[in-house]
Structure formats: structure tokens, C-alpha cells
């Protein structure tokens, strides 16, 4: 078990080394300061930055989890981006109306957000099972539609603050307070970042310990075998899209309840695609994703200091992250092939001499 984990960690470590190396080469070519880049990247983060890293990694974690649920089912939910937008908008719009007292308001807003995200994802699921539309294409389309749709609703009913549109602010009694966990940090950890921990545990338990999780994994591994084993594959597609969308709905909530207190046209975007990358980095494994999310958030946060400390554009880190994802998937593929061959050899050797069980096969 330990050995497996070590081999599992080898590929991402290798990928990280490759990513940093390629980044260094680019910096050398562009004549930027490599030492400044490396020392900034690998300096210990200040308390303030540490809090940011934790906050960002928690939302990345949620986003990656949403993508991972799809991946385990062999579904590409590229639509996390749109799903969390729709969800945050629904929650923010409702909260802004201030219809219910504090805690109840939060609960209902949560339910609304999850319902909205799940429904948005369900469109793709239903299109897939009823009309055979690839979820990759439909979720890409739904992402774009979500952006325009929320923009329209804001334009129609939102408030203009400065030069951006936003929903009515969330009343203060429905805010979720931050956690002052990091000493000497001027900022706080978002209260709802704990959602990531809860969601991660739930993901792990449901996937590995329950019948439903088994059926989900079985469908992802072989839909033909699933059909022959009494699993309703069409239902599983819709259900897993709905769950994935429900988890995606959580992505924006920590910021909404703990930071922005409104949905605006400038609400953080791009978490869906980074989440996808993090899920790939972590091999859809709950612990792996946690490391991936921390790594991504760490790289992003440290890069914000690059401009000041080393005079290097912080955009360089997107290159590092992109190379990291590409090299990690290549590395995993190579490792997978190697492992499969090694295991077959091992089985053959262990059972080999002259025993009929090994047989020949064409």
C-alpha cells in the first residue's frame, strides 16, 4: 500500500520538476532573473499569503472534486465553471432579498445554490442520455450561456456599484464569519472553506465504501459491464451529473458568504477550469486532489510576489501550471502502462513453470 502511494507520488513530483525546469528555460530565453524567480517561488509564504493559499485551495478543492465525480464516471464535466456561476447567482439573488432571518436565510440560499448548480448540470446529463449529445460540447456551451444569462439578469435587476453590476448585498446577519487560525495574519480564513474538508470526506466515503459509489466507479470503468450487472447506466449519468453540479455549486459560496457578499460581473471566474486541472493532478483521489489544490494555490499566491521581488511577470506561473498538468497526465499514462505490464509479468512468473493456468492467448 505504501509502495503504491510512493509510486503514485513519483509521477506528480517528476512533473513538477519538469514544469519548473521548462519555466526556468523560458525565463532564461526571455532574459529574466531565474534566481529571483526561484527564490520567490520557494520562499516561505507570509501569514497573509498563507491564509490566501488556504482559502484558494479550498475552493479549488471543491471545484476539482466536482470534476472528479464526473471523471470517475468517465464523464467530462467541463461545465463546473458555469454551474458555480449560476449557483452563486441564485444564492446571492435570494440572500439579497433579505426574506428570512440569518441562519435560515443561509440554509435556504445553500439549498437554492445547490439546486441551481445541479439543474444546470442536469441539462447536460439529460441531453446525453436522451439525445446522445456529448457532455463535453454541451457543458462548454452551457458555460457560455451561464455567463450571458447571469449578466442579463444582473443588467435587468441588479444594482450598479462603481462600474460593475451586482446583486443586492447579502444582509450582515447572513454572513459567515472567518476563522482566525493563522497567527499574525491580517486576514481570516473563510468560514466556509471547511466545506472542502466535509466534501472531501463525503466523496471518499461515498465512492469507496458505498454501493452507489461502487456502481458509479463500475460504470466509469466499463459501461458494458455495468449494464450486464444490473446498473441503470442512463440513470447513473444523470445522477452523477447532478451530484457533480451540486458540488460545483459550492465552489463560489465561501467567497460569497465570507468575502464579496454579493454576486457581481467581476466575481472570480476560471475556478472551473483550474479545478479540472487540479482533479487531473490529484488523480481524482481525495487526498491527491488536496495536494494538487494546495500546490496550485501556492504557485498562484507566490507568483503574486514575482513582479515586486524579481521583476518577472506573474503570468509565468500559468505556464508552470499548464506544463505541470500536461506532464502529469503524460507521466500517469506512462506509469499506468508500465504497471500493467509489470503486473502481468509478475502474475505470469509467479504461476509460470508448466502450469496450465497461464495458457496462451491471441
Amino acid at each position: 500500500m505504501l509502495k503504491r502511494a510512493a509510486v503514485g507520488a513519483l509521477a506528480p513530483m517528476l512533473a513538477l520538476v519538469i514544469a519548473v525546469l521548462i519555466t526556468v528555460v523560458i525565463l532564461l530565453l526571455s532574459g529574466d532573473s531565474v534566481s529571483g524567480f526561484l527564490s520567490t517561488l520557494f520562499s516561505a509564504p507570509a501569514p497573509r499569503n498563507l491564509v490566501n493559499i488556504l482559502n484558494n485551495s479550498s475552493v479549488l478543492y471543491l471545484s476539482a472534486l466536482a470534476a472528479a465525480i464526473g471523471f470517475r464516471m468517465n464523464l467530462f464535466n467541463i461545465g463546473v465553471e458555469g454551474q458555480y456561476r449560476v449557483a452563486v447567482f441564485a444564492a446571492a439573488a435570494f440572500l439579497g432579498q433579505d426574506l428570512l432571518p440569518g441562519a435560515l436565510n443561509i440554509v435556504v440560499a445553500f439549498a437554492l445554490a445547490i439546486a441551481a448548480g445541479a439543474a444546470w448540470a442536469a441539462i447536460a446529463g439529460l441531453l446525453k442520455v436522451t439525445r446522445g449529445v456529448s457532455e463535453v460540447i454541451s457543458t462548454i456551451m452551457l458555460n457560455a450561456i451561464a455567463v450571458s444569462l447571469t449578466a442579463y439578469l444582473l443588467r435587468r435587476w441588479g444594482l450598479t456599484v462603481g462600474n460593475s453590476l451586482q446583486t443586492k448585498p447579502v444582509p450582515e446577519d447572513s454572513w459567515v464569519p472567518g476563522l482566525d487560525l493563522v497567527p499574525e495574519a491580517p486576514n481570516e480564513i473563510l468560514g466556509l472553506s471547511l466545506l472542502a474538508v466535509v466534501a472531501g470526506l463525503a466523496y471518499s466515503v461515498v465512492l469507496n465504501r458505498t454501493r452507489f459509489g461502487f456502481e458509479l466507479r463500475a460504470t466509469g470503468a466499463s459501461s458494458t459491464a455495468a449494464v450486464a450487472s444490473g446498473i441503470d447506466v442512463r440513470r447513473m449519468v444523470v445522477v452523477s451529473m447532478v451530484i457533480s453540479g451540486g458540488v460545483a455549486a459550492l465552489v463560489g459560496l465561501p467567497f460569497l458568504f465570507g468575502d464579496t457578499h454579493a454576486y457581481s460581473t467581476t466575481f472570480q471566474s476560471g475556478l472551473g477550469f483550474s479545478g479540472l486541472a487540479v482533479a487531473l493532478l490529484g488523480r481524482n483521489h481525495p487526498v491527491g486532489i488536496a495536494f494538487g489544490a494546495l500546490l496550485f494555490a501556492y504557485l498562484t499566491e507566490q507568483s503574486s510576489l514575482l513582479e515586486i521581488n524579481a521583476g518577472v511577470s506573474n503570468d509565468i506561473i500559468s505556464i508552470t501550471q499548464g506544463v505541470l498538468v500536461l506532464s502529469v497526465v503524460v507521466a500517469y499514462e506512462v506509469v499506468r502502462r508500465y504497471r500493467r505490464a509489470a503486473e502481468q509479468r509478475a502474475v505470469a512468473e509467479q504461476l509460470a513453470p508448466g502450469r496450465p493456468g497461464t495458457g496462451v492467448s491471441a
Partner: protein, 419 residues
């Protein structure tokens, strides 16, 4: 597989399979033109197809079309290219830098070269390392955004008129103007005659400031058709997307063709980005592609993985986009009645073909569009922006039996596993 059906099939082997009578493309184009003209006359929104709007439409249409063409090359060889957007972004930065320092055509070449590098990377991961096509595409998109932004910061920060996120103005390739014709066309256009004025505005649009890159891009569509469908190179390339196993067993080097196809795809996507910089905006800016790679993908699907189809798809998407920008929601509003009429005709046709349910549904939708048209004065810009995506979703959902994507697109292929 029954004997009876086989026997029958044997007998009508040599006959041509029954096909619907083909209506010439020209008829469709004229009909579409007449409809728009009709809408213009009854609503009085002459901006609907003024020369200015059409010029705008052409410059919105070309990048989408090139992106769609890029998607076509990759998918016909069996590789899904979600990384189009990223390759376009690479094209924009290439065009920005080389266009500014070396000249317009160097900018064009650099855009294609930068895009092709993105394509090569996609080919390397998907074809050689067998990484899932979507995964690779997503990673390339993430990376390309970073590369472009980083290079922009490095290259343009210190330039006069430039900044960390944008280049100074860049000059585009030469454009063509035939003054007298354009002036005469303008005159006719301003009379607002039915059909005649519309034809004149089209003439006006292509005789003033028509970029040579626009002409080149349109030629690329024809060239793509000829290469893919009329040469043995194209046949081999398409066979890799339909059945790589069959291709391999006939001695086709599938890896090579896929690699070439994805490189060309990247170059075309890069050109799409280059067009935006050199002809559309006249400068490089971070994020200037604004999701047009995805619209291109949508246009390709909308066009059923065919050059002619994607031309129609990207023309539609480019036109609505430009109309919104140029003439606002009022002009787009006039299109609602066009849609209603088209749907009405299609619904009646379906009823005549005895497809009762879909016919009735189509008629109801036509009615809804008519109601929308008569009860409002303009279409919100956000709705216009959604159009390509919604239209593509609808096509996928309701006309999927007519869509024919390459059979082996997106599937992993490894040499030696055939047979």
C-alpha cells in the same frame, strides 16, 4: 443480416441510393437574402444589412470560421481539439509581436507558426502519449493564456503605446478598396429598395476596406475542401478519423497523418487569432480572443463537420455578433421575424413529410418567436451573445440524427492494436 435482405441488396447493388433532390446553394443564399431584406423593409431597421454592418460581420465571421476550419482539420483526423482557444491566443501574441516589429505578413506567418506550436504540443500528448484529447486541450488553454500574458508583459511593457497587457497598434495586411464602385453602391443602398439595396450593400461591403487576409481566409475554406476531399492525402487523413485501424492495415502511417492534421489545425487557429489582432482590433490585448475558439468549435459542429456547413455556421454566429455591436438590440430584434418565418416554413415542410410531432413543435416555436417579435422592441445584448451556443445545443439535441461526426474522433489509438 438475414438472407432475404442480403439477397435483395445484391440485386440493387449498382443502383444509386435514393437521395433527396439537392437544391442549389445559390437558391438558399438568395432566399436568405430576400428574407433579411424583407425584415429590413417591414421593420425599417436599415442597419440590418447596411454595408457597415456587413463589413463588421465579415470581420467577426472570419476568425470564427478559421477556428471552425482548424477544428475540422483536427477532428477529421480523429483528434478533438478543445485547445483551439489556446492556439488562437498563441496566434494573437505571435501576430502582435511580429506584426509590430517586422510587418503585417510576418505577423500572419508568426500567428500561424505560434498556433502550430500549440498544435504540435497537442499532437505530441494526444497522438504520441495517448493522453485524453480533452485533458490535453484544457491544459493547453491554461498554458497558452499564461504564455501570451507573460510574453506580452515582457515584450510590450516598455513600448510606447503598449503596456503589460497590450501591444501598440499593429498594422494589418493591405486592404482593397474600389472607390467608385463603393460610392455607387452606397447610393443605391441609401434608396432602401427591396433586394436591390441589399445587394448593393453587400457590394459596398466587399469593395471598401476588404482585407487581403479576409480573401485569403475564404480561399482556405475552398482549399481545405479540395485537399481533404479531392486528394489522396485528404483521403488518408480522413480515414484516420473514421477508422484508424483500417488505415493502418492499408499501410497508412496514422500517427503521421494525425500529427500533420493537428499541426495544421493549430496553424489555422493561430491564423484566426492573428486575424483578430491584425485586421479586427489592430492591436494585441490579453484575452482578446474572448472564447471565439469555442464558438468556432460550435460552428464546426453546427456545420456537421463539413467546410460548407461551418461556413454557414460561422457566418450566422459572426453576423448576429456584429449586428449587436453595430446596430444594437433593435436590429437584432428584426431578425426574430426572420427566424419565425424560417421555422414556419420548416414546420409546414415537416407536416407535409408526415413528421407530425416535430412539425407541430416547430410551428409552436415559430409562433413563440413571432409573439416575441411583436411584444418587444429589442433583444437584450446578452441574448445575442448566447445565440451561437444555444443554436448549437439545439442542433445537437434535435438534429443529431443528421449530424455525422468522424466515427473515431476522440478515441485513443495505438499502433499494432488493429485487427
Amino acid at each position: 443480416m438475414t438472407v432475404a435482405s442480403e439477397a435483395v441488396a445484391l440485386h440493387d447493388g449498382p443502383q444509386q441510393p435514393d437521395r433527396h433532390r439537392r437544391v442549389p446553394v445559390v437558391v438558399w443564399v438568395v432566399a436568405a437574402f430576400a428574407l433579411v431584406s424583407f425584415a429590413r423593409v417591414i421593420t425599417g431597421s436599415h442597419e440590418l444589412d447596411s454595408a457597415g454592418t456587413l463589413r463588421e460581420a465579415i470581420s467577426a465571421f472570419i476568425p470564427i470560421m478559421l477556428a471552425a476550419l482548424a477544428g475540422l482539420w483536427a477532428e477529421r483526423a480523429g483528434v478533438v481539439n478543445i485547445g483551439l482557444e489556446g492556439m488562437m491566443i498563441l496566434g494573437t501574441i505571435g501576430a502582435g509581436y511580429f506584426g509590430f516589429f517586422y510587418g503585417p505578413w510576418q505577423g500572419v506567418l508568426a500567428a500561424m507558426a505560434f498556433g502550430a506550436i500549440g498544435g504540435a504540443l497537442h499532437a505530441l500528448t494526444t497522438v504520441v502519449f495517448n493522453v485524453d484529447h480533452i485533458v490535453s486541450g484544457v491544459a493547453i488553454n491554461i498554458m497558452a493564456g499564461g504564455v501570451a500574458a507573460f510574453l506580452a508583459d515582457t515584450w510590450f511593457s516598455s513600448l510606447e503605446g503598449g503596456g503589460p497587457t497590450q501591444s501598440p497598434p499593429v498594422e494589418g495586411p493591405a486592404s482593397l478598396t474600389i472607390g467608385p464602385v463603393a460610392d455607387w453602391a452606397k447610393e443605391v443602398e441609401d434608396r432602401h429598395w427591396f433586394l436591390l439595396s441589399d445587394a448593393a450593400s453587400l457590394l459596398g461591403a466587399v469593395t471598401r476596406n476588404l482585407s487581403s487576409l479576409t480573401v485569403l481566409s475564404l480561399l482556405l475554406v475552398g482549399a481545405t475542401y479540395l485537399v481533404l476531399w479531392r486528394t489522396s492525402f485528404g483521403l488518408r487523413l480522413r480515414s484516420c478519423g473514421e477508422s484508424p485501424g483500417a488505415a493502418e492495415t492499408l499501410g497508412v502511417n496514422v500517427y503521421r497523418y494525425k500529427f500533420i492534421a493537428v499541426m495544421i489545425s493549430g496553424a489555422l487557429a493561430g491564423l484566426a487569432g492573428g486575424f483578430i489582432v491584425l485586421v479586427g482590433a489592430g492591436l494585441y490585448q490579453n484575452g482578446i480572443t474572448n472564447g471565439r475558439g469555442f464558438i468556432g468549435l460550435a460552428a464546426m459542429i453546427f456545420g456537421n463537420w463539413r467546410p460548407g456547413g461551418l461556413l454557414v455556421g460561422s457566418a450566422l454566429f459572426g453576423y448576429t455578433d456584429a449586428l449587436q455591436l453595430r446596430a444594437g438590440g433593435g436590429a437584432v430584434h428584426a431578425l426574430l421575424i426572420v427566424i419565425a418565418i424560417v421555422l414556419l416554413a420548416y414546420g409546414l415542410l415537416l407536416l407535409r413529410r408526415r413528421a407530425r410531432r416535430s412539425g407541430v413543435v416547430t410551428l409552436v416555436v415559430a409562433l413563440l418567436f413571432a409573439v416575441w417579435f411583436f411584444s418587444t422592441d429589442e433583444v437584450p445584448s446578452d441574448f445575442t451573445r448566447m445565440t451561437p451556443y444555444v443554436a448549437t445545443l439545439f442542433v445537437l439535441a434535435f438534429a443529431s440524427q443528421r449530424l455525422r461526426m468522424p466515427a473515431a474522433v476522440g478515441l485513443r489509438y495505438r499502433r499494432g492494436e488493429a485487427g
